[in-house]
């Protein structure tokens, strides 16, 4: 997550692929289509003027403009991160347009006010807002082209004092909260992409859960990149006060396009004493064509701070999209008895590359962390799990359990594991298990001899492999994730 990830040891691959399948087929990108909505877009390029323009258009308080400019100046001095396991052509940051907003400026009060083209987009995605509204317990803050255009269930949340809005709105309505917490987990200097995001972020989500409040519904945001050449710089900030609980779902799909698109989001979570934050992601961005052209570059900094005693932060992610994924949702276990969890399924096929994992930083006493990582590689997919578990000298009685499994489909893909452990306290208890398996001919034949098509057999075995992670997802999301996995592996075996 931080630039220092690149310093992790690059040991020889723990496992590489080898198998008997070679007929490799492609499956089309189901969600690949572009919605025609007029955008109010800044011309490409980045300098202090652009940053001031973004801040001005959003009517931000002065502290925010200054914060962005400070971040930008530091970013200019940062080297581009170099890491072992992903490769892409250099990104031209001057070719990116840093602001894009749908024409209709004022947020709609109901679905009737939402642009029908947008609603159609959601319909095509199979995640219609109508349906989501009907799904009791799911509030939707749909982010479309960097600006929220549909927010629902706000009143219900307001009744219990939960704030759920875009970060732009939060800057207008709760500037003191933003000021207090923004950058307190991921400082602008943390890494190259976090620096860029801090300078130019245009929108994202803000959640505040007051003391001893259980958020009455799952909070959900669907991200979608739409306008050509618009980099997305989302900023998410979630604060759970003492003894509170919130579950947040993030999902995204994108239309097919030609240019590589940079996505550099920052997510900061803060859990105070006894609070719990559950953050779930299903990511399905355009992975590029079979040569890897045109896919999304996903460089995300996600970090949670278990700031209070007995707090808990749990990351669950299902990553099937993007040309390149670089993300390490992490937990800083600062409070005594705090708990960090990371459950991950990552799929790479075609020419996709993923370098993902987590960091668990144990600072407090009796802190516990669990890591369950399931990597699936097919075709030419390249995947690295990179995990750091650090037990600080004062973290008496800390415990970590890491389970890291790779499943290979075909013989041209690869999975690498780079576990990295730093223990400065002798009372630490660490467990690490790693397995690499292949979908065997025997398994496929067994399924087919029962009447199942090969693709269904693969998706069944893969879903079985991922079960421990899917079990952590909220119900509707788990169903969606399974569907996504099946779609993304169609034609990966043959």
């Amino acid at each position: 997550m931080s630039a220092s990830t690149a310093d992790l040891p690059t040991s020889t691959p723990a496992a590489t692929a080898a198998s008997q399948y070679d007929a490799i087929v492609r499956s089309g990108y189901e969600h690949g289509f572009v919605t025609e909505i007029e955008s109010d877009t800044l011309p490409p390029g980045l300098d202090e003027g652009v940053i001031r323009a973004i801040s001005a258009r959003k009517g931000e308080p002065a502290f925010m403009t200054d914060w962005r400019l400070a971040a930008y100046r530091k970013w200019l001095q940062m080297p581009t991160p170099a890491w072992a396991s992903v490769h892409h052509p250099p990104i031209d940051y001057q070719a990116i347009s840093y602001f894009s907003a749908p024409k209709k400026k004022d947020g709609p009060k109901s679905l009737d006010e939402v642009d029908p083209v947008l609603l159609e987009t959601y319909r095509k995605l199979g995640i219609p807002i109508e349906e989501q509204k009907a799904l009791a317990g799911v509030a939707v803050d749909a982010v479309f082209d960097s600006v929220s255009v549909a927010t629902t269930f706000r009143e219900k949340l307001a009744e219990v004092g939960v704030i759920f809005c875009s970060i732009s709105e939060a800057l207008q309505e709760h500037p003191e909260l933003v000021r207090q917490y923004l950058g307190s987990v991921v400082p602008a200097t943390d890494n190259y992409y976090a620096g860029l995001n801090s300078a130019v972020f245009t929108d994202g989500t803000f959640v505040y859960v007051p003391k001893h409040t259980r958020c009455p519904m799952e909070l959900s945001t669907y991200f979608r990149i739409n306008t050509a050449n618009t980099g997305q710089f989302e900023r998410t900030l979630i604060i759970a006060e003492e003894g509170s609980y919130v579950s947040y779902l993030e999902g995204c799909t994108a239309p097919q396009r030609d240019e590589n698109q940079l996505h550099a989001a920052v997510v900061e979570l803060i859990a105070l004493e006894g609070a719990e934050i559950k953050y779930s992601t299903v990511q399905n961005w355009y992975p590029g064509d079979e040569h890897g052209r045109g896919g999304i570059y996903n460089f995300v900094t996600k970090r949670g701070d278990c700031r209070g005693a007995r707090s808990k932060i749990s990351w669950t992610q299902v990553e099937t999209g993007s040309a390149i994924t670089w993300k390490y949702p992490s937990c800083i276990l600062r409070g005594d008895d705090s708990v960090g969890e990371f459950y991950s399924v990552a799929v790479t096929k075609g020419r996709q590359q993923a370098d993902t994992g987590t960091k668990m930083i144990h600072l407090g006493k009796n802190t516990r962390s669990t890591i369950v990582s399931k990597g699936i590689s097919a075709q030419h997919g390249q995947q690295s799990y990179r995990g750091l578990v650090r037990i600080a000298a004062k973290a008496e009685g800390a415990r970590n359990h890491t389970q890291c499994d790779s499943l290979l489909i075909g013989d041209k893909c690869a999975a690498n594991t780079f576990p990295y452990i730093e223990v400065k306290n002798p009372t630490a208890k660490m467990e690490h298990e790693a397995t690499t398996s292949k979908i065997s001919d025997d398994q496929l034949f067994y399924c087919r001899s029962r009447g199942l098509a090969e693709e269904d057999a693969v998706s069944m075995i893969v879903n079985g492999f991922c079960k421990e992670v899917f079990n952590e997802l909220p119900m509707e999301f788990a169903v969606e994730a399974q569907k996504l996995l099946s779609i993304s592996l169609e034609g990966a075996v043959g």
Partner: protein, 249 residues
């Protein structure tokens, strides 16, 4: 129902099936016996369409279809079922879910409606009862961590659920103690039906004390060298397989 003529098949360089002939009529139960390595499993695998076998000559007709032209799943959907000698483990795949998907894939291919969860559960309960099995295996991943006996029972249960027209049981008796053997044999007998044929592959005569075959065949060096009624099994029991090498050579 099934007509195998002059079937020859290679694994790599080696010819394993060397001109095998077999005719199975509707509702008939055939036992195929033979020493280890004689090609019994190879025959079962070639019938069900497993990759890795090269059929060099001969033909297999199943209900008017050229079986060798079809994919394994197409054969299954036509009503062919293989109870594996070594059932395969599918970690993480729930047994009930697996069976429901398989049954519905078969039903769908026949233009029948898919069973919903309730009807499926009802059918499952009914079949468990017929086989005198309990439902303890259903919640576990397919064959994963099952004992040898549990795996074999699970194969029979799958057979009961999928209702094949031709079932091939490949050494379903091997490795079972007498109680487990009885459970499996009772299950098979319960599934005997005028519309269902069975090929029971076994190394030992023992199973045939419980499952009474209409015909018994002796397979040696890749072809059937003798056929007869159930008394042939008893003869094999007495004489062992030693004499076969002379006949087959």
């Amino acid at each position: 129902m099934l007509s195998v003529k002059g079937l020859r098949a290679n694994v790599g360089e080696n010819e394993i099936l060397t001109g095998l002939d077999l005719e199975v009529g509707p509702g008939e139960v055939h036992a195929i016996m033979g020493p280890n390595g004689s090609g019994k499993s190879t025959f079962a695998h070639v019938l069900s369409g497993r990759e890795g076998y090269e059929v060099t000559s001969g033909s297999v007709q199943f209900d008017g279809h050229d079986l060798l032209e079809l994919e394994p799943e197409e054969r299954a959907r036509l009503g062919l079922f293989l109870a594996f000698q070594y059932p395969v483990e599918l970690p993480g795949v729930n047994n009930t879910y697996f069976l429901k998907a398989a049954l519905n894939a078969i039903r769908k291919s026949r233009g029948e409606s898919e069973l919903d969860a309730v009807s499926f559960m009802r059918l499952m309960k009914e079949r468990l009862k017929v086989l005198h099995l309990d439902d303890s295996l259903l919640k576990r991943p397919v064959n994963f961590g099952f004992s040898g006996g549990e795996k074999k029972r699970n194969e029979i249960f799958q057979m009961a659920m999928l209702e094949p027209r031709l079932a091939i049981l490949d050494e379903t008796d091997s490795g079972l103690d007498i109680d487990a053997l009885r459970i499996v044999a009772d299950g098979v007998n319960a599934l005997r039906d005028p519309a269902r044929s069975m090929i029971v592959v076994t190394h030992y005569q023992r199973l045939l004390d419980y499952i009474e075959p209409d015909h018994v065949h002796v397979l040696a060096r890749g072809r059937i060298i003798r056929s007869g009624g159930k008394e042939l099994a008893l003869e094999l029991e007495e004489r062992g397989y030693g004499w076969i090498d002379e006949v087959a050579a």
